[in-house]
């Protein structure tokens, strides 16, 4: 149907129940515009069909699937350990969190408990990954709205995190840092010093970002009141993560259903009031600071001991199914694994936060202007690898 | 300011104006005729300059070329006139056209023959530097009343435009 739109746009019967724009003497014929799939501001291959009346957006329809690699189908032909690297490629920006979610799900299935030291290492690396993901979000989001400089600041600081990842597990982006049952590599000597050095290095840098944007009049004007979404709409549409918290719902899986070692750290969950782009910006900036707090506590209290639980070489989980979800930087990332007792999973379903959050785009953008569509896509912080799987 | 090679510039500018005038009518494409009109207006501005009326030339450039013609081009582009381009000239009253042309031609020839007596023999060389001041004094001094009426008229026009556009916003 989408190809048919481009051939003959008039026939686009939008199922979005849109009221007829008022027929004025200059009868405003709607304009159907394609945004994407190659567009600098769509964070990957997302195509948005915009129905415009002049500058106002009447309705949008997202066409996705350009980056669909069939991860769930591949999972049915791989053993549990072999599927681990694929999981990093789903949300390539927050690869460590994906790995954590998957490993913990399988450990639950195998009824195995990762040792405390492994849990601490996992918390440190996941929070570092959350920082890296938020920094990438801030850089590209500001660039979309026109501020060029934050991008370079955020990427300079993100480099430090990637260096720590590289020293620990050899890779910067798709790290494959964890294994089912714990962590494969012991932390390299100097790991604690590097992380401590980073914790003192980053706070003034975050203040630098805030200096550039938080009180910048034009930034305020471009983000305040843009892409508003209420708490009840968020819950109804299944939106999670910073977008939900910015609408005022104080819900974070790390607190609601703690996993790994999160129950042992105290940190608070920032929430916004009006659920617009500016609140989401503030929530994410505060989240970066809270992550630093977690890492600081984790590094100081990291216990000694083994880093790998006793897991059989050939994993054959008992017949059954499990759903385990963690708080990824973008929202609730869940794994529903059905095992039939063989070495290969019978079915793995990945619950992607970006995919569900993107569904709220139409509600947030309707009635706004074209320039706001780009600001809202930026603030939703979607990664197309995760949307398309 | 001692005039510099005026005769050449005079003929050049007036030829340019006439040429662009002709082009305005004959061009098929609406945008081309608008461009020709802009050219003609600029040439007239040059003529004003030669008449030691720099203020009027400046206003001519700002108002006509910079303001009104931009709106002309806006309208031509927004309402794309492809359809209008294709239609051939359909009005057949060439007879009326010829008569009008002859009448105008006769008038021009009469003026040319009478020559100098029609115009005052010599005009005081206006001091070029104080031209703007004189216009200012004239406009706000002697013709104050006319100026106010004109500005009132403009105000009405602006309010009308706002009211018409109000429905859309």
């Amino acid at each position: 149907m989408t190809d048919q739109i481009t051939k003959d746009p008039a026939s686009f019967v939008s199922h979005l129940e849109l009221g007829e724009p008022d027929k004025t003497f200059l009868d405003s014929n709607e304009l159907i515009i394609n945004m994407g799939p190659q567009h600098p501001a769509t964070h990957g291959v997302l195509r948005v069909i915009l129905k415009l009346d002049g500058e106002k957006v009447l309705g949008t329809e997202c066409v996705i699937g350009y980056l669909h690699r069939g991860v769930e189908k591949i999972a049915e032909h791989r053993t549990y350990a072999m599927f681990n690297p694929y999981v990093d490629r789903i949300d390539y920006v927050a690869a460590v969190s994906n790995g954590l979610g998957y490993c913990e799900a399988v450990e639950k299935l195998l009824n195995v408990q990762a040792p405390p030291r492994a849990n601490y290492i996992r918390v440190i690396l996941t929070e570092l990954n959350r920082l890296a993901s938020h920094q990438l979000w801030l850089g590209t989001h500001a660039l979309d709205i026109g501020a060029m400089t934050p991008l370079f600041y955020t990427f300079r600081d993100r480099e430090e995190i990637l260096k720590i990842f590289e020293k620990y597990c050899g890779a910067r982006l798709t790290t494959h840092a964890f294994r089912i049952g714990g962590c494969l590599y012991e932390t390299y000597d100097g790991f604690e010093q590097d992380v401590k050095k980073f914790i003192d290095f980053l706070p003034p840098k975050i203040d630098e970002y805030e200096e550039l944007l938080t009180t910048n009049r034009i930034w305020l004007e471009r983000t305040k009141g843009v892409g508003k979404i209420s708490a009840s709409d968020c819950i109804a549409l299944g939106v999670t993560g910073p977008v939900l918290r910015a609408s005022g719902v104080k819900w974070d899986l790390r607190k609601a259903q703690p996993y790994a070692a999160y129950s042992e750290f105290d940190f608070d969950i920032p929430i916004g009031q009006s659920g617009d782009t500016y609140d989401r910006y503030l929530v994410r900036m505060e989240e970066m600071r809270q992550s630093l707090r977690i890492i600081r506590q984790a590094v100081e209290r990291i216990p000694e001991g083994p880093i790998m639980a006793k897991v059989p070489k050939v994993m054959k989980p008992p017949v059954g199914e499990i759903y385990h979800s963690i708080e990824a930087p973008k929202g609730e990332l869940g794994y529903f694994i059905v095992s039939d007792g063989s070495t290969q999973p019978y079915r793995i379903r990945v619950r992607p936060p970006s995919f569900v959050n993107l569904q709220a785009l139409d509600l947030m953008v309707r009635g706004q202007l074209v320039a706001d569509v780009i600001a809202v896509i930026g603030t939703l912080d979607i990664v197309l690898g995760e949307v398309d799987r | 300011m001692q005039p510099v090679a005026t005769t050449f510039f005079f003929y050049f500018l007036s030829a340019l104006t006439v040429l662009s005038g002709v082009l305005v009518i004959t061009q098929k494409n609406a945008v081309h005729s608008a461009l020709a009109l802009i050219f003609g207006l600029l040439a007239q501005a040059g003529l004003y300059l030669m008449l030691y009326a720099p203020f009027v030339a400046g206003v001519q450039i700002i108002l006509y070329a910079g303001g009104i013609m931009v709106l002309f081009l806006f309208v031509i582009m927004l309402v794309n006139l492809e359809r209008a381009q294709k239609e051939e000239q359909f009005n057949k009253q060439w007879l009326v056209g010829v008569l009008a042309a002859l009448a105008l031609g006769g008038l021009l020839v009469a003026v040319y023959l009478k020559g100098g007596q029609l115009f005052p023999q010599h005009i005081a060389q206006p001091v070029e530097s104080s031209n703007t001041q004189e216009i200012g004094v004239m406009l706000y001094g002697n013709y104050m009343f006319a100026f106010e009426i004109a500005s009132l008229l403009l105000l009405v026009a602006i309010i009308g435009a706002v009211v018409m556009a109000k429905k859309r916003i």
């Binding site: 026109g146 400089t149 074209v370 320039a371 | 030339a57 806006f74």
Partner: protein, 416 residues
């Protein structure tokens, strides 16, 4: 013939005023050559300064510290293929960049680099400048329309709407500056640029400080409007890459596209020189009234020489820090040569006859350079306005304030 040429040298009016066509042509050559060099330098400065704002180095490879980068860009643009879209309107497509270029270059006829250093001194200087700068709107609209594709047309309409609406605010601010030129109820104000600067000289005060808040606010309005007029920094919406509508010059390529860039930079320099002339006392040296007396004059007259020597010093520091690798030998030699030239210019500027003659031009271009740096600073820090906010600022903020300032200036002019 010879005396015709030398006749102008004795008179102290501008060549245009003195009716000396030959010298007028010479001045035109100098000014246009100067502006082109300034555009090249501006291109280099923009890329380097923007880079250093964003903690990166900017062009370093072409010539020492990227000094030859503008030349490389120019050659690239000259040799690139110059595509005309299929059903584009050939004539309009060809003439659009020329109109923009002419509009932004004819403004330089009236810009006063010194009491006698201007191509001509029209007594409607400011009016002529505003008029011609409004012509570039035509070029923009035609460029958008001629490229015969959907998005450049919308981009062109948007940027022309922006330019037209900010021109109004600009005009109001300029009028309030001209009101200041008339002395207390006796002298009559003047439109001519040299007249304005001389008025500031005789009143011993830059107009930015006259009737204190008013001059400053009018200057502020003009500064904002001029940024919007040239589609730069926070108002560069039309060619914003993350917007749907591309800029009006997307269908252009090669030399034609570089004409647009040349026109944009020339317009930036022209508009900031208007601001300098009107509010910052064109070629007057800073603090004309407080720091008077010939000792201060001497000090201020040394500054151009010192500046060039300072630049030469920076160049030599660059040479010293250049890595010793043979690959960098050419770059070190190049940079050293560049530093030597700068040092030489600095020394020449200390010779008394040259020093006095260069004062006016130096101070004028220094002030314009400050504005150029501001343009780049804006681009590095500000995000982009949305189109409706941009128009709101233009009509609902700048215009009322400009009219208010105009009325207050008139009242103050009558009272004081």
């Amino acid at each position: 013939m010879l005396d015709y040429i030398t006749s102008y040298l004795s008179s102290n009016t501008t060549p245009g005023q003195a009716g000396n066509v030959f010298w007028a042509l010479v001045y035109i050559m100098i000014v246009f050559g100067g502006v082109s060099v300034a555009v090249m330098a501006m291109n280099w400065l923009e890329r380097k300064a923007l880079a250093h704002f964003q903690i990166r180095l900017g062009p370093m490879r072409v010539g020492p510290h990227g000094l030859l980068q503008p030349i490389a860009d120019a050659i690239k643009l000259l040799t690139k293929e110059d595509i005309i879209p299929a059903e584009a309107d050939k004539f309009v497509f060809w003439i659009a960049p020329l109109i923009i270029l002419c509009a932004s270059f004819t403004v330089y006829i009236v810009i006063p680099f010194g009491p006698t250093h201007a191509i001509t001194d029209l007594n409607i200087g400011i009016l002529f400048m505003l008029g011609v700068s409004s012509l570039s709107v035509l070029g923009v609209v035609m460029a958008g329309w001629a490229s015969n594709s959907h998005y450049p047309l919308i981009g062109a309409l948007r940027s022309s709407a922006q330019m037209v609406s900010y021109e109004v605010a600009m005009g109001m601010a300029v009028v309030s500056a001209i009101l200041m030129t008339s002395l207390n109820k006796t002298g009559t104000g003047t439109l001519s640029m040299i007249g304005i600067v001389q008025a500031q000289q005789s009143q011993q005060m830059w107009f930015i400080f006259k009737f204190f808040p008013l001059g400053f606010i009018a200057f502020g309005i003009f500064a904002i409007a001029m940024v919007a007029e040239t589609n730069r920094a926070p108002f560069d919406l039309p060619e914003a890459e993350s917007e749907l509508t591309a800029g009006f010059h997307t269908e252009y390529s090669g030399l034609r596209w570089s004409l647009f860039m040349l026109g944009e930079y020339a317009a930036m320099i022209a508009v900031s020189s208007i601001a300098v002339t009107l509010w910052l006392g064109g070629w007057l040296r800073p603090f004309p009234n407080t720091l008077t007396g010939d000792t201060w004059d001497l000090v201020f007259s040394l500054i151009p020489g010192l500046l060039f020597l300072g630049l030469a010093l920076i160049a030599f520091v660059g040479v010293v820090r250049m890595p010793k690798h043979p690959y960098f030998r050419i770059q070190t030699v190049g940079l050293a040569g560049f530093g030597a030239v700068l040092g030489l210019i600095g020394l020449i500027l200390f010779i008394p006859p040259v020093r006095d003659r260069i004062q006016d031009i130096f101070w004028f271009s220094a002030k314009v350079a400050v504005f150029m740096y501001l343009y780049i600073w804006y681009r590095a820090t500000f995000p982009r306005y949305r189109f409706d906010q941009l128009m709101k600022v233009g009509w609902k903020v700048l215009l009322p304030v400009a009219i208010g300032v105009l009325i207050l200036t008139a009242i103050m002019g009558v009272l004081l």
